[in-house]
Amino acid sequence: MSIPEYTAPATLDDALGIKKELGAEARVIAGGTDLILRMRDKVFSPSVLIDLRRLSLDGIVLSDNEMRLGAFASLSQILESAEIERLFPALPAGCREFAGPPIRNRATLGGNIVNASPAADLVPPLIAYDTSIVLTSSDGDRVLSLVEFFVGPGQSVIKPDEILTEIRLPVMPPWSAATFIKLGQRRSMAISQVNLTTRLSIDESGAVSDARIVLGAVAPVPMRAVAAEEFLLGKELSEELLNGAAQKARAEVTPISDVRASHSYRLEMTEVLVRRALLATWDELGRNATDG
């Protein structure tokens, strides 16, 4: 089979066939806002580019208990969805602070995941919502929890013949709220120094029934502060409790110093921002309760 260097297959099966034959030599191009730069800088030198624009893998569909997003949905498409804003507001909150409008019109949710950047802005909200992803190959679909996808900076468990096709967010239990915060040097066009999402679910007595504290840019992969999450479980919300969780989160992160921020600044900001995000999430829960 002869494969042109740039191909826009008519079917997913055709694309998967090329991936099966060429593996990592063939790269899928989605928005291209990262890939094009890396190709120019010779970080990646694929022999074939597979453009999936003809397959319309950008649908946003809500079923009974799950939101399914095509991996090729652009950030702008996510921002235009009233259902995502209503059910998963921390995700569009991340999109709004992502680069600027021209990039948001091209960059895709799947691209932000597959890049496996430790600072990916959309990954903390997705993990906080217990997102799973669908990796498709010619052998079929493989579904895994997003938090298990990342191995290290730029590295993930995706196999050379797989394509990320779908992102699935389960609808949250009632009395849930989430908050996204990004710290960067500017409000636009900045790579995060720290980004995070907190999500709290409470039961009818007001005790914490589920908690997610997910941080980016403070470890080799986007991470859950598991000890801090466990510290909250079963307890009544209070400022003291949330302060304690923020301190625990600080002890769990392992940031590096780089051109954007130092190790010690990231540590300090982890505690400050986790506390701030948890307080905002609590506010949101309070408002939800009084709104009925």
Binding site: E5, A8, G32, L37, S76, P102
Partner: protein, 165 residues
């Protein structure tokens, strides 16, 4: 890479170019089509000098490969004027002195045009968000806000009196 044939619309006219698939839309516009109004600033999606409309949305043309534009419709700075008349936002930029050196202006104008296409009464915050992906390093953004507000008022007035779209 071998060249491939790519067809798309630019400023309302269908064009057919032959280009290597790793060439950007920006290079094709400037080098193959001679549309040098769109500028090449950073070549990495940071500065916004290369912003054009692609299928009715502003994008960085340095971050689109030419074959990704196959079958699409592109509007560049050269396409904002119609029948020899500048678009209201172009005229307003001149009247309010919203630029000095002018290098970032084509990209900023396209971003502002995109905003005004969907919103003829933008707030200051919405205008600043619309140009968040465009760097201006000599004039700043106050003039841009003033120009877009002036153009928006003109578009609203024209729509009211002319019964236009």
């Amino acid at each position: 890479m071998a060249e491939m044939e790519i067809k798309f619309d630019v400023n309302g006219k269908q064009v057919r170019v032959s280009a290597e698939p790793n060439k950007t839309l920006l290079s094709v516009l400037r080098e193959n089509l001679g549309l040098t109004g769109t500028k090449d600033g950073c070549s990495s999606g940071d500065c916004g000098a290369c912003v054009v409309m692609l299928d009715d949305r502003p994008v960085n043309s340095c971050m689109v490969l030419a074959p990704q534009a196959e079958g699409s419709s592109v509007v560049t700075i050269e396409g904002l004027a119609s029948n020899g008349e500048l678009h209201p936002v172009q005229r307003a930029f001149g009247e309010t002195w919203a630029f000095q050196c002018g290098f970032c202006t084509p990209g900023i104008l396209v971003s502002c045009y995109a905003l005004l296409e969907s919103n003829d009464d933008p707030t200051r915050e919405e205008i600043l968000t619309a140009v968040a992906g465009n760097f201006c390093r000599c004039t700043g953004y106050q003039g841009v806000v003033k120009a877009v507000e002036q153009a928006a008022a003109e578009i609203r007035a024209a729509n009211k009196s002319g019964g236009g779209s």
